[in-house]
C-alpha cells in the first residue's frame, strides 16, 4: 500500500466529480455563473494538498528555472490553503470572503462572488459544487453551485479556519470552538459531530485534516492528534503531539505526520496512533508537511526546510532559506518549491536540498502553492497571485 494509497481520494473525487464546471464573468457586476463546461482532469489540483493525504505532490514535473507567466490582483489577502486548479480554471477563496476564478492560461480574472466574511482555507470541489470554509461570523461552510451561480446551502457551526476534507460525499472540518463535524455534502445535514470534552482552555481545530482509508485525522490547538472513523465519527485514537497543531496534517506510508508550534515533527501509526518518531525542527512549524515517496518535507519558522524519512523520522537533509516559512511546500518530481515570508519562492532539489532556483515575489508567501499543467501558482500577501511556467526570465 504505502505511498501509492494516496491515489484513493483522487479516485473517489473522479467518481463523484464527473459533472462539468462552467464559469464565466457575469455582465455588469461581480459574480460567477455557468458559461462553458470545464471537465475535471486527472492532473488537477482539486483540494488542499492535492489529495486527501495532503502530500502536495504534482502529477507531472515542473522543472526550474521558472519564469513568470502572469500575475493577477485578487483584491484581498489569502488564507493558508492553496488555490485549486481544475482544468483551465484557478479557484481560490480570499480573506474578503470571495470565491475568485481565474483563467489558468491567461491569468485573466473570470469573476468572483462574495460568500461570507472570509475564506481562510482552500475550497474543495465535487461535481459542480465548490465547498468553502468560512470564518468571522459563525458560518462554517458554504456550498456554491458553480453551474447555477447560486448558493446550494450554508451551515453555521462556528468559525472554520482550515481547508475542509471531502471524502465519499461527506465533508469533514473542525471549528475554532473545538468541534469536528461531518456533513452530507449534498444537503449540508450533519452526519456526526465530535466535541473536545471539558474544553476549558477553549481549544480549537485549525490544522487542515487528512484522510487514509476509513479514517480522518485532526489535530487541535492543545496538541492532540485525533483519528475518527469517517463513517461514524467514533474516536479511534488520540495521541498527544507535544505542542499545538496549527499546520495541516499529512499521511505518508501509513504514517500520520504533523508539525507542532513547539517545533516537533511527529509521525504516528495511522491505524493505532502509536508515536513512531519525533523529530526536533528547532523552531515552530506553521507550514504543513508535504511529501513524496518515503520522505516528508517541513519548513520551519526559522527558515529551515527539513527532509525527514517518514518511516523512522530520520533527518535526511536540512537547508536554511533566507526567511521564515509558514506555508506548506510543494513537491514536483525531483523538486521542492517553498515560499518564505521574506518574499521568495525557492526551488530545491528534493534529494539533497540544494537550492536550484529562487525568485523574488511582491509579498510575503503565507499561502501554500499549487501546481498543475506545467504551472506553479503562488499567492502573496500583497493580494496577488503569480503564475510561473518553465523557462528562463
Amino acid at each position: 500500500m504505502g505511498f501509492l494509497n494516496a491515489g484513493h481520494p483522487m479516485r473517489s473525487f473522479f467518481c463523484h466529480g464527473a459533472a462539468m464546471l462552467l464559469v464565466s464573468l457575469a455582465a455588469g457586476c461581480s459574480g460567477l455563473r455557468m458559461d462553458r463546461p470545464v471537465i475535471p482532469q486527472r492532473d488537477d489540483w482539486p483540494t488542499a494538498g492535492r489529495t486527501n493525504s495532503r502530500l502536495a505532490s504534482t502529477a507531472g514535473t515542473l522543472k526550474p528555472p521558472l519564469r513568470q507567466a502572469w500575475e493577477v490582483d485578487l483584491a484581498a489577502g489569502f488564507g493558508s490553503g492553496s488555490p485549486l486548479v481544475i482544468d483551465t480554471l484557478v479557484l481560490t477563496g480570499n480573506l474578503r470572503g470571495e470565491l475568485c476564478a481565474v483563467n489558468l492560461r491567461t491569468g485573466k480574472k473570470i469573476g468572483s462572488i462574495h460568500l461570507g466574511d472570509a475564506v481562510p482555507g482552500s475550497p474543495v470541489v465535487e461535481g459542480s459544487i465548490a465547498y468553502l470554509p468560512l470564518t468571522g461570523s459563525g458560518e462554517s461552510l458554504v456550498a456554491f453551485n458553480l453551474n447555477e451561480g447560486k448558493t446550494a446551502w450554508r451551515e453555521s457551526h462556528g468559525d472554520v479556519e482550515m481547508s475542509p476534507l471531502l471524502k465519499d460525499r461527506k465533508l469533514y472540518f473542525g471549528t475554532t470552538g473545538g468541534e469536528v463535524y461531518c456533513l452530507d455534502c449534498v444537503t449540508g445535514a450533519m452526519v456526526w459531530k465530535y466535541e473536545i470534552p471539558e474544553n476549558t482552555m477553549f481549544l480549537g481545530f485549525r490544522a487542515t485534516p487528512a484522510a487514509l482509508d476509513s479514517l480522518v485525522f485532526f489535530g487541535d490547538d492543545g496538541g492532540i492528534l485525533y483519528a475518527f472513523s469517517a463513517a461514524t465519527g467514533s474516536l479511534r485514537w488520540r495521541t498527544p503531539a507535544g505542542g499545538g497543531v496549527a499546520a495541516g496534517i499529512a499521511v505518508a506510508e501509513g504514517v500520520v505526520v504533523a508539525g507542532t508550534i513547539g517545533g516537533t515533527l511527529l509521525g504516528c501509526d495511522a491505524s493505532s496512533g502509536r508515536v513512531r518518531w519525533r523529530y526536533d525542527a528547532g523552531a515552530p512549524l506553521y507550514a504543513a508537511p508535504v511529501g513524496s515517496g518515503d520522505t516528508v518535507y517541513a519548513g520551519s519558522l526559522s527558515g529551515v526546510v527539513h527532509a525527514v524519512r517518514c518511516t523512522d523520522g530520520r533527518g535526511i537533509w536540512k537547508t536554511a532559506l533566507e526567511g521564515p516559512i509558514n506555508a506548506a511546500a510543494l513537491v514536483s518530481g525531483d523538486y521542492l518549491y517553498v515560499g518564505t515570508l521574506k518574499k521568495h519562492i525557492v526551488g530545491l532539489l528534493r534529494w539533497d536540498g540544494s537550492q536550484v532556483w529562487s525568485q523574488d515575489v511582491d509579498g510575503r508567501i503565507k499561502t501554500a502553492p499549487a501546481a498543475a499543467y506545467g504551472r506553479l501558482l503562488v499567492a502573496t500577501d500583497e493580494h496577488t497571485m503569480v503564475c510561473y511556467v518553465e523557462g528562463s526570465q
Binding site: 489577502g77 474578503r96 466574511d117 477553549f202 526559522s302 515570508l341
Partner: protein, 910 residues
C-alpha cells in the same frame, strides 16, 4: 530644546537603519546586535516579518534623548523610549544599563511587529485600519515579550492586589497609561498564556478583524469575555499573594513613617548641633526638590519642608527622582545632582548656612547618578554617564579641582558609597556573568590601588550599599525572595575568596530602596506602598539583624568572568554612512468648506520632515474664489521651512493670500485683501524656562474696503521681539504654581505709501500662588497697547478672559485685564453604574473668580468686571470643559447684574 549639536551617522544592518553619533559608536553596535537578536525572536513569536527597514534612533543618555525633535513636547524622565507610528521610527536612549537598553529595544520592537502584523491582517481582510488592540494589551505584550517577570513587576502587583487597587481588564481605563497598567497587562497575558497557551495571544491579534470590541475578540478567542476572564485572573492573583500576609508586612505596618505624600526617595541622615535630620528628594509640591525633616519629630503630619526646589531656575532645572543618591559631608555640605542646561551638574549646599554653593559640570560627562563624600569631606565619588553612554565611577577632589575616572568600561557602575575609613568605595555593578540579564552585585573599589573585589555574587540583584557610621556593617537592598528588601552584611576583614554572609532586615511585602544609616544605628529608606514611594525608618537594626532568621552567603570563590557584550561590528552586511536628511511625508490633507457668506473654499496642506525631525517643510495651498472669474486671483499659497536642529530655531517662508475677510478685531468688518511677502523668525532658548523670539516680515498688501472709494495699498514691514518666561506647574485644568510672562514689542509700518504705521506693546503676566498641594490663587495682568495708523484692535470677553460678557464682544486698540481665580479640587470621582455598564468622571475642579478690565480706542470708556464660580473637567488629558456662573459688574463698577450669567465652553485655565 536642542543644546547639543549631534553629528548623526547611520549604521545599516540586515533589518535596521541605526542613527547614532560617533561618541556612542560602541553602544550603537551593541544596540544593533540587540535589535537583530530581537528581530529573530519576534519574527518567530509573531509569525511575521517586517516589509520595511526599521529606523532606530539611539541616544547615549536620557538628557540627549530629551532633545529629540522626532516628537513634540517635553519628554519626562520616566519615558524609556517610544515607537512613533507616522514614520515608523523607534527612539531609544541608554541609561547606562546594557540590559535595560536591550529590554527597551525589544519592547519597542514588539510594538513595531504588532503594528505591522495587525495592519497587514486588516489589509488582508480589507478592513479599515482603525482597529487596534487596547493599550493594556499593546504595552502588556511589549513587556511580556521583552522582559522577565522581575522584582519591580512583582512589587507593583503585590501592592495592587494586597491594597485592593488591582483592576481587571474590564476596568483598565481606571489605570490607563500608568506603570501599573503596563505590569497588569503583562501579568494578564502571562496568566492567559499559562492557562490557555501562548498561541492565544497571537490569535487575539489575528482575530482583530472579526469584531470591533476587544472584549468580544477575547470571547471568541478564549471563550471568555473580560468579566469572565477577570474573575479567573484576579482570583488567581489573590490566591498567589494573600498568603504573603502571613510572613511579610506592608512597610507602613513595620516601619515608622517620615514622609508619605508624593514621591520620596534617596534619604541621607545628618546630625549637627544636637539636631538629627534627614534630607531626601521628593516632589510633594509638584516640583522635584530636596526636603528636610527632623528624625525625632513624632508629628505624623510632618512631611518635611522644602530646602531646594527644581523646575524653577535653570541652575536646578530638574532633580532626578529615581537616579541618584545625595550625601552630606561631615561639615554639613550636601552634595546632589540636577539637570542644568545641556548636562547634569553636581551642586554643593551648605546645610548650616542654608546656602547653595559651588556647582560643577564637566564636558565629558552628560548625566550623573549617586554621590558619596569621602570621610574627610574633600573628595566626592559619583557615578556618571559619558557621551558614549558608559556609566562609570568618578572621583572629584574639591580642594584640587581634579576629576578622576575610576572605572572605564561598558558595565553599569553605580551607587558609590565611601567607607568610613576612606579605604574603599562600595558600589553596585552589572559586571558579573549575571549582569547581562540586568542583575547587579556589590563590589569594593580600593582607592589606593584601583583594584575591584567582589562583595556579593549571585543571580539576585544586590544594590544601594550604605555603610554604618562605624564601618562595621553594610546595608544594601537585595531581590532575594522576589522583591527588594534591605539586608545587612557585617564588614569585618575577610580573606579573598571567603564566604561573606548577610541577613535580611526588612520583610516587606512590596519593596524598600536606598537605605541610609543614622549614627544611632537606625536605617532610613524609601518604601513602595499604595503606588507611592514613602520615606520610612526602622530602629535597632543591629537587634533586628541578630534575630533575623533569613540569611544567605555569597561564595566569592565561585565567581566567573564578567559577561561580554555582543556587537554587530565586523559583520559583512554592515554599512556605516553619514546621515543625510531625506524628507518624507508627515501629513497630507485636503479640505473643502462651504460658508453661506464666503462660498466654497478648498485646499490642501502638506508637511514634510527629515527622519530626525530637525528640518520641516510646510506647504499650504487653497483657493477662495467666489466666482469662476476670481479663480486665478484667489489662490492662497504659503511655504515655510522650520529648522529645529540647533539651539537657535529658525523659520522662514513666503506666502501669498487673497480673499474676502471678516476681521472681527478691526473696524472694517468686511474687506478683500491681497497680500504677498516673506518672513523670518528666530527663537533662542536662554534656559529651559526663558526664551527670546523675534521675527521680521515684509509684505505687499492691497486692501479693498466696501465703504472706501480707493484701495488701500501698503508695503508692510513688521518687526517684533518677545521675551517669554514660563516655569509654571500644571494641574488637571491649568497652572497651579510658578510664573509666566510674555513681553512683546512690535512695529509695523508701510514703507512705501505710509498708509499703515503703528506699534504694539503686549504685556501678559501670570502668577500662581500655591495654597495647598492641589489649590492655588492665580493672578493675571494684561496690558495690550496698539497705537498708530490702521492699528489693529484687541478683543476680549467670554470664558477665557473677561467672564460674563459675550465672546469677543469687547474691542479696542488698548486693553487691560486683571483676573483673579481661586483654584481648588471639587470632586475627585463621579461614577454612574447602569445595567449595561458603568460611566465615570474623574477630577472635577472648582474655581472662584473675579475679573476686571476694559478695552478702548482713543478715549477710555468704561470699566467692566465680573465675579462668580465655576467647574472644570479634564477629559482625556487634552480637553478641559468649563462651566461658569456669576454676575457681571457693570457701569464702571457701580451696578451688579441682577440675574446670573452662565457660560459653558472649553479650554485650559489661564
Amino acid at each position: 530644546m536642542q543644546y547639543t549639536d549631534f553629528e548623526w551617522h547611520v549604521l545599516k544592518t540586515d533589518h535596521f537603519d541605526i542613527y547614532y553619533y560617533p561618541e556612542m559608536k560602541d553602544l550603537a553596535e551593541r544596540g544593533a546586535s540587540f535589535a537583530e537578536e530581537s528581530y529573530s525572536v519576534l519574527e518567530a513569536k509573531f509569525n511575521h516579518t517586517l516589509n520595511t527597514r526599521v529606523p532606530l534612533i539611539f541616544y547615549s543618555s536620557h538628557l540627549h534623548f530629551e532633545q529629540t525633535n522626532t516628537t513634540g513636547g517635553f519628554i519626562p524622565e520616566g519615558i524609556g523610549g517610544f515607537f512613533e507610528f507616522l514614520k515608523g521610527r523607534v527612539v531609544i536612549p541608554s541609561d547606562g544599563s546594557t540590559a535595560q537598553f536591550r529590554h527597551v529595544i525589544r519592547h519597542e520592537l514588539v510594538h513595531v511587529f504588532m503594528t505591522s502584523k495587525v495592519n497587514r491582517m486588516l489589509s488582508d481582510h480589507r478592513k479599515t485600519s482603525d482597529r487596534e488592540p487596547p493599550l493594556w494589551f499593546t504595552e502588556g505584550l511589549a513587556e511580556y515579550w521583552s522582559t522577565a517577570w522581575d522584582a519591580q513587576a512583582e512589587m507593583v502587583m503585590r501592592d495592587a492586589v494586597l491594597n485592593g487597587t488591582a483592576v481587571g481588564l474590564d476596568d483598565m481605563d481606571r489605570i490607563y497609561g500608568s506603570f501599573q497598567m503596563y505590569k497588569e497587562g503583562q501579568n494578564a497575558l502571562q496568566f492567559l498564556s499559562s492557562k490557555y497557551g501562548e498561541q492565544k495571544i497571537l490569535l487575539l491579534m489575528e482575530n482583530l478583524w472579526k469584531e470591533t470590541s476587544f472584549s468580544d475578540i477575547f470571547k471568541l478567542t478564549i471563550g471568555k469575555n473580560y468579566r469572565e476572564f477577570d474573575e479567573e485572573w484576579l482570583y488567581a492573583l489573590k490566591k498567589r499573594y494573600y498568603p504573603l500576609m502571613a510572613s511579610t508586612d506592608a512597610p507602613s505596618r513595620a516601619a515608622r513613617t517620615l514622609a508619605r505624600e508624593g514621591f520620596n526617595s534617596k534619604p541621607v541622615a545628618f546630625e549637627h548641633d544636637s539636631l538629627r535630620e534627614v534630607y531626601f528628594i521628593g516632589n510633594r509640591t509638584g516640583y522635584s526638590g530636596i526636603y528636610r525633616r527632623s528624625l525625632d519629630s513624632e508629628n505624623k503630619e510632618d512631611q518635611g519642608r522644602v530646602v531646594l526646589e527644581g523646575e524653577r531656575t535653570d541652575e536646578l532645572e530638574a532633580f532626578h527622582l529615581m537616579r541618584g543618591r545625595i550625601d552630606v559631608s561631615r561639615d554639613g555640605i550636601l552634595a546632589f545632582v540636577t539637570k542644568s542646561g545641556e548636562n547634569d551638574a553636581l551642586h554643593l549646599y551648605d546645610t548650616r548656612q542654608e546656602e547653595l554653593g559651588q556647582s560643577f559640570q564637566w564636558p565629558s560627562i552628560v548625566s550623573m547618578g549617586s554621590v558619596s563624600w569621602s570621610p574627610d569631606g574633600k573628595r566626592i565619588a559619583f557615578s556618571a554617564i559619558d557621551k558614549g553612554g558608559n556609566s562609570d565611577l568618578y572621583m572629584y577632589d574639591t580642594d584640587r579641582g581634579d576629576l578622576t575616572r575610576l572605572t572605564d568600561d561598558y558595565y553599569d557602575d553605580r551607587d558609590p558609597a565611601w567607607s568610613p575609613d576612606g579605604r574603599v568605595i562600595a558600589f553596585s555593578s552589572d559586571r558579573t556573568p549575571f549582569g547581562s540579564k540586568g542583575v547587579y552585585n556589590l563590589f569594593l573599589y580600593t582607592v589606593a590601588t584601583g583594584g575591584i573585589d567582589y562583595l556579593t555574587y549571585g543571580p539576585e540583584s544586590t544594590e544601594s550599599p550604605a555603610w554604618s557610621k562605624d564601618g562595621s556593617s553594610l546595608a544594601f537592598t537585595s531581590e532575594a525572595g522576589g522583591v527588594q528588601n534591605i539586608w545587612m552584611m557585617p564588614m569585618g576583614p575577610a580573606a579573598p575568596g571567603t564566604l561573606r554572609t548577610a541577613r535580611q532586615i526588612t520583610r516587606f511585602t512590596t519593596s524598600a530602596f536606598d537605605p541610609a544609616w543614622t549614627s544611632a544605628g537606625e536605617l532610613v529608606f524609601s518604601a513602595f506602598e499604595k503606588f507611592s514611594f514613602q520615606l520610612r525608618m526602622i530602629r535597632n537594626v543591629r537587634a533586628v539583624y541578630d534575630t533575623s532568621s533569613i540569611g544567605r552567603g555569597f561564595d566569592l570563590a565561585m565567581k566567573e568572568k564578567p559577561w561580554e557584550a555582543k556587537t554587530v561590528a565586523g559583520r559583512a552586511s554592515l554599512q556605516r554612512l553619514r546621515y543625510r536628511g531625506e524628507y518624507s511625508l508627515d501629513i497630507a490633507e485636503s479640505a473643502i468648506s462651504t460658508d453661506p457668506v464666503f462660498g466654497t473654499a478648498g485646499g490642501a496642506f502638506v508637511s514634510l520632515s527629515d527622519l530626525l525631525g530637525n528640518e520641516q517643510y510646510y506647504f499650504l495651498l487653497y483657493n477662495t474664489a467666489e466666482s469662476q472669474s476670481e479663480f486665478l486671483s484667489s489662490f492662497n499659497i504659503a511655504i515655510s521651512r522650520i529648522s529645529l536642529g540647533q539651539r537657535t530655531n529658525y523659520a522662514y517662508g513666503i506666502y501669498r493670500f487673497a480673499g474676502r475677510r471678516y476681521d472681527l478685531t478691526d473696524r472694517d468688518e468686511f474687506f478683500y485683501e491681497r497680500v504677498f511677502g516673506g518672513y523670518l523668525a528666530l527663537s533662542y532658548p536662554i534656559t529651559m524656562f526663558e526664551r527670546i523670539e523675534t521675527s521680521v516680515s515684509l509684505s505687499n498688501s492691497t486692501k479693498e474696503v466696501d465703504t472706501q472709494i480707493e484701495d488701500r495699498k501698503a508695503l508692510l514691514l513688521s518687526n517684533s521681539i518677545s521675551f517669554v518666561h514660563d516655569n509654571s506647574l500644571w494641574g488637571p485644568s491649568g497652572p497651579l504654581d510658578g510664573t509666566r510672562f510674555n513681553l512683546t514689542l512690535a512695529f509695523t509700518s508701510d514703507i512705501q505709501y505710509s498708509n499703515v504705521n503703528y506699534f504694539s506693546v503686549i504685556a501678559d503676566y501670570r502668577h500662581y500662588l500655591r495654597l495647598a498641594r492641589r489649590s492655588a490663587l492665580a493672578t493675571r495682568l494684561w496690558l495690550f497697547y496698539n497705537n498708530g495708523k490702521e492699528s489693529r484692535r484687541f478683543v476680549m470677553g467670554g470664558s477665557w478672559d473677561l467672564r460674563g460678557y459675550p465672546r469677543w464682544s469687547i474691542r479696542g486698540e488698548k486693553l487691560w485685564l486683571v483676573s483673579n481665580e481661586l483654584r481648588f479640587p471639587f470632586l475627585d470621582q463621579l461614577s454612574f453604574q447602569f445595567p449595561f455598564g458603568g460611566l465615570g468622571f474623574w477630577g472635577f475642579r472648582g474655581a472662584l473668580f473675579f475679573d476686571a478690565g476694559s478695552a478702548w480706542d482713543d478715549r477710555y470708556t468704561v470699566t467692566l468686571g465680573s465675579m462668580g464660580g465655576g467647574l472644570r473637567l479634564n477629559l482625556g488629558g487634552f480637553l478641559v470643559l468649563r462651566y461658569d456662573v456669576g454676575k457681571r459688574i457693570e457701569n464702571n463698577f457701580t451696578q451688579i447684574q441682577p440675574d446670573w450669567f452662565q457660560q459653558f465652553f472649553f479650554g485650559w485655565d489661564f
